[in-house]
C-alpha cells in the first residue's frame, strides 16, 4: 500500500477573479432591482408603461411645445382660441407669460424705481443667512443678533420707507415673492421668542400661567389658519379704540405670527421634555435663578435638539403664507392667480404655466430647507455618539 501525503499547502495566491457574469453589470442590476420576482416584473412593466405614456407628453408640454417668447396672449393661443401663430390642437406651456410677468411675480406693484431697496434687502438677507447656516463659520452669536434683530429693523426702514429721505411705499403695493418671504421671515422671528415663552409657560408649575398657555396653544392649533387670519383682519380693528386704523398687511402679520408661535411652542416643548431633569436641578443647586437656569442651561440644549423640528415647522409656515391670498393680499401664489384673469394674457395654457412656475419656486425653497434640516439632524446626531 502506498501512503499518500494528503496535506497540501498552497504556495502562490490565486489571482483575484472578476465577479461571475450573473452578479455584475446592467443585467444583474436589472434582475435585482426591477425583475426580482414575477410580481416585481409585472409592477415594473406597468410602471414603465405609465411613465412612458405620460413623461413624453409632460416634457413635450413643458419644453418642446412651449412658447418661450411673446408679448401677449396671441402667442399662446390657437387660431380658434383667438390667437395667431399656434396650430390647431396645440398645447404647450406659455413661458412667455411668466417672462412678461416675472417682475410682478417677484415684487407685486412695488414702484419700479424703488426696487433697488428690495434688492438691497435681499442681498443683506443672503449675506447674513449664509454664514449662519454653515456650521463652521465662527461668531454665531453676533451673526444671529444681526440677522434676527438688526436685519428686521433695517429691512423695515428700507422696504416701507418714509424716513431718511426714502419714499414711503404703502404695503398695498407690496406683492409677489417679496410678501411671501417677508411674511415667513417675520413669522419666524416673532414665533421663536413667543414660542419659547409659551413653551415655558406650558411647563410652568404656576397653574394660572400654565392654563393660559395651554388655552392659547390648543385654541390656535385647533382651528385652521384662515380663521386665525380672518380673526386678525376682522377682530383686531374691533378690539382697538375707535378710529385706530390698522394696516391690512400688519393685521395679517399679527395673525400669522400668533399662529406660528403656537406651533413653535409645541416643537420647543418637545425639546424641553427631552432634557433630563438633573440639568435643571443642577442649575438650581448652583443657585441660578429661573431665567438663568432656562437661558444658560436648559434652553441651549433644548433648542439645539429641536433645530430639525423648527426647520420643519418653518417649512409648513412658508407654505401657509399662500393663505393670505384669501384675505386679499397677493403673495407669490396670489399674484399668479390674479394674473389668470389678465385679459391680455388669458389663454387655456396660462393657468397651468403660472401654477407650475409658482410650484417650482415654492418647491425649491421648501426642498432646500428640508435638505438642510436633514443635514443638521445628521450633524447634531453625531454629538451624542460616543
Amino acid at each position: 500500500m502506498q501512503e499518500h501525503d494528503l496535506s497540501y499547502v498552497r504556495v502562490e495566491m490565486v489571482n483575484a477573479q472578476a465577479a461571475p457574469a450573473s452578479e455584475r453589470g446592467a443585467g444583474h442590476w436589472l434582475r435585482t432591482n426591477l425583475f426580482a420576482t414575477p410580481l416585481d416584473s409585472v409592477l415594473t412593466l406597468i410602471a414603465l408603461l405609465i411613465v412612458s405614456y405620460y413623461l413624453p407628453s409632460v416634457i413635450n408640454w413643458m419644453l418642446i411645445n412651449a412658447q418661450w417668447t411673446g408679448t401677449d396672449r396671441t402667442f399662446c393661443a390657437t387660431t380658434a382660441q383667438g390667437g395667431g401663430i399656434q396650430p390647431e390642437g396645440w398645447s404647450g406651456a406659455c413661458w412667455a407669460f411668466v417672462g412678461a410677468k416675472f417682475q410682478q411675480f417677484m415684487f407685486g406693484r412695488y414702484p419700479v424705481d424703488e426696487r433697488w431697496r428690495v434688492y438691497l434687502v435681499a442681498v443683506l438677507f443672503v449675506a447674513l443667512l449664509t454664514p449662519l447656516l454653515i456650521p463652521r463659520v465662527p461668531k454665531k452669536t453676533l451673526n444671529a443678533i444681526l440677522f434676527f434683530v438688526a436685519f428686521p429693523i433695517v429691512a423695515y426702514f428700507l422696504l416701507l420707507g418714509g424716513h431718511f429721505g426714502l419714499r414711503y411705499v404703502e404695503t398695498a403695493l407690496w406683492g409677489g415673492l417679496m410678501v411671501t418671504l417677508v411674511l415667513s421671515f417675520v413669522g419666524m422671528v416673532v414665533s421663536l421668542p413667543l414660542g419659547v415663552i409659551l413653551a415655558l409657560g406650558r411647563r410652568s408649575k404656576m397653574p394660572v400661567v400654565k392654563l393660559l398657555s395651554v388655552i392659547f396653544i390648543e385654541t390656535i392649533r385647533g382651528v385652521p389658519l384662515i380663521t386665525v387670519l380672518f380673526m386678525a383682519s376682522v377682530m383686531l380693528p374691533l378690539f382697538l379704540p375707535p378710529g385706530t386704523s390698522f394696516d391690512k398687511f400688519l393685521r395679517a402679520l399679527v395673525g400669522f405670527s400668533l399662529f406660528a408661535s403656537a406651533y413653535m411652542a409645541e416643537v420647543i416643548r418637545g425639546g424641553l421634555q427631552a432634557i433630563p431633569k438633573g440639568q435643571g436641578e443642577g442649575a438650581d443647586s448652583l443657585g441660578l435663578s429661573y431665567w438663568q437656569k432656562m437661558g444658560l442651561i436648559v434652553m441651549p440644549q433644548a433648542l439645539k435638539l429641536v433645530i430639525p423640528g423648527i426647520v420643519n415647522t418653518f417649512i409648513g409656515l412658508f407654505k401657509d403664507t399662500s393663505l393670505v391670498y384669501i384675505i386679499g393680499m397677493f403673495d407669490l401664489l396670489g399674484i399668479v392667480r390674479q394674473n389668470f384673469s389678465d385679459a391680455s394674457w388669458a389663454s387655456p395654457q396660462t393657468p397651468m404655466t403660472g401654477l407650475i412656475f409658482a410650484g417650482l419656486v415654492f418647491w425649491v425653497f421648501c426642498f432646500g430647507m428640508s435638505r438642510y434640516s436633514m443635514f443638521m439632524e445628521r450633524r447634531l446626531d453625531t454629538g451624542y455618539r460616543r
Binding site: 410602471a47 411613465v51 385652521p224 392667480r337 418647491w363 421648501c366
Partner: protein, 396 residues
C-alpha cells in the same frame, strides 16, 4: 455658638418675603391674571363702543333670521329662505363630508405610496419618492388651484364629455354619475347590513375563543366578507329589488339627471387627498422601518410564513408607531379643507365668511368657527386616541 442648627424639624430659616418661592409664584400669577383681565376688559370695552357705533346688536339672535344667500352644494335641504343657523349647519356638514372623503382616499394613496417607497423595485421606489417630494414641498392651496384651474377646467366641455363606465361622464362641469333611487322596502338593506356587522363581530369572537381552546382556525375573513356582501344582497332581492338607477343624460347644453360632483368639490377632494397622502406615505414608511429587522427574523424562525409574519408581527408594531402622527395628519386635512373658500366651495369657513359680511356679527361668527372646529378636532383625536389605546403595547 455660631453653628447652625441642622436637626430635623427645626423651624424653616426666615427669609425675606420677597425671596420666598411660594410668595413669588403667587404674586407672578396674580400679576399675569390681572394684566390679562385688564387687557380683555379693554378689548371688550373697545368692542362694545365699536359695535355701538356700527349699530350692530351682539348676541346669537341673528342665527334665526333669513340668510338670503344661495349655497351651491348642500347635503340637507336649503333655500335662500332658510335661516343662518341652517346655513352654518350646511357648511359644517360640507366640511365634514370633504374631510371624511379626503381622509379615506389619502390613507389609501398614502399606504400604497409609503409601501412603494420601501419596495425592492427601483422604478416603484423612484416614482414613490418623486411623488412624496413633490407634494410635500408645495402649498396645499397650489395643489387645489392645480386641480381646479389646471386639470378640471381644462377638461372637455359638456358636448364632448368623456364617457366613463357605468354611464358616468367627466367634463369641465364636474363628474356626473348615476343616482340610485330607492323604492319601497329599501330600508331592509341597511338593516341587513347592520345585522351582518353584528354577525361578523360574533363570528370573530367565537373563532378566537375556539382557536385559543382547540388551536383550530376558522376562515374569519372570508366569512366576514361573505356576510357583509351577501346579507344586504339577499335583502335587496327579497324586498323585490327596490332600486332604480337614474342615469345622467346628455342634452345639448348640459347633462341632466343623475348625481354630480361639482368641480369645486372634486378639486378640493382630490387636492387634499393627494397632498395629505404624501405625508401619510412618510408616516407609513417610518412606521414600517421602525420595526426592527430582528422581529421579522424571529417570526421566520418561529416558522411563520412571510404573510403571517407581516400581518401578525410587523404591521401591529408599525401601527403603534404610525397612529399618533397619522391622527395629526387627519386633523391637518380637516383644517386644510377650509381652503375651499379660495375656489368657492361652501364649507364652514366660506359660509361663515358670507354670514360675517352680511350681518357684521364678527365676534359671534368667529366664536362659532372656534367651537365647531375644536369640536371636530376633539372628536377626531378622541377617536384616534381610542384606536391608539387599542393597538398600544400592553406591558405587564
Amino acid at each position: 455658638m455660631a453653628t447652625q442648627d441642622l436637626r430635623m424639624g427645626a423651624a424653616a430659616p426666615r427669609v425675606a418675603l420677597l425671596y420666598n418661592p411660594r410668595f413669588r409664584s403667587i404674586i407672578t400669577q396674580v400679576v399675569v391674571a390681572l394684566a390679562l383681565i385688564a387687557l380683555i376688559a379693554w378689548f371688550v370695552d373697545n368692542t362694545i363702543t365699536n359695535l355701538r357705533r356700527a349699530n350692530i346688536a351682539s348676541g346669537f339672535g341673528f342665527l334665526y333670521s333669513r340668510a338670503g344667500f344661495d349655497i351651491s352644494f348642500s347635503l340637507i335641504p336649503y333655500t335662500n329662505d332658510s335661516t343662518y343657523l341652517r346655513a352654518i349647519a350646511v357648511g359644517t356638514l360640507n366640511t365634514i363630508l370633504v374631510a371624511v372623503m379626503g381622509i379615506v382616499t389619502a390613507t389609501i394613496i398614502g399606504f400604497i405610496v409609503g409601501v412603494g417607497r420601501l419596495s425592492r423595485n427601483w422604478l416603484i421606489r423612484a416614482i414613490s419618492t418623486v411623488y412624496v417630494e413633490t407634494f410635500r414641498n408645495i402649498p396645499p392651496l397650489l395643489v387645489i388651484f392645480f386641480w381646479y384651474f389646471g386639470v378640471i377646467s381644462a377638461l372637455p366641455t359638456v358636448r364632448d364629455s368623456i364617457a366613463l363606465p357605468f354611464g358616468s361622464f367627466l367634463n369641465s362641469r364636474g363628474f356626473f354619475f348615476p343616482k340610485v333611487i330607492w323604492g319601497e322596502g329599501a330600508w331592509l338593506i341597511p338593516v341587513a347590513f347592520i345585522v351582518a356587522i353584528a354577525l361578523v363581530l360574533f363570528v370573530r369572537s367565537r373563532a378566537k375563543a375556539r382557536q385559543e381552546a382547540t388551536g383550530q382556525r376558522f376562515p374569519v375573513v372570508w366569512t366576514s366578507i361573505a356576510l357583509l356582501i351577501g346579507l344586504p344582497l339577499l335583502a335587496f332581492f327579497v324586498s323585490g329589488m327596490p332600486a332604480t338607477l337614474d342615469f345622467p343624460k346628455k342634452s345639448v347644453f348640459n347633462l341632466t339627471g343623475g348625481m354630480t360632483l361639482a368641480p369645486e368639490l372634486l378639486s378640493l377632494y382630490l387636492a387634499l387627498s393627494f397632498y395629505t397622502a404624501s405625508f401619510i406615505a412618510e408616516i407609513v414608511r417610518a412606521g414600517i422601518r421602525g420595526v426592527s429587522k430582528g422581529q421579522t427574523e424571529a417570526a421566520y424562525a418561529l416558522g411563520l410564513r412571510p404573510r403571517s409574519a407581516l400581518n401578525l408581527v410587523v404591521v401591529p408594531q408599525a401601527m403603534r408607531i404610525a397612529i399618533p402622527p397619522l391622527a395629526s395628519q387627519y386633523l391637518n386635512l380637516t383644517k386644510n379643507s377650509s381652503l375651499a373658500i379660495a375656489i368657492g366651495f361652501p364649507d364652514l369657513v366660506a359660509i361663515g365668511g358670507t354670514t360675517l359680511n352680511q350681518t357684521g356679527q364678527s365676534v359671534e361668527v368667529v366664536v362659532l368657527w372656534l367651537v365647531i372646529y375644536l369640536a371636530i378636532s376633539l372628536v377626531t383625536s378622541a377617536f384616534m386616541n381610542w384606536f391608539n389605546a387599542r393597538v398600544a403595547l400592553v406591558e405587564r
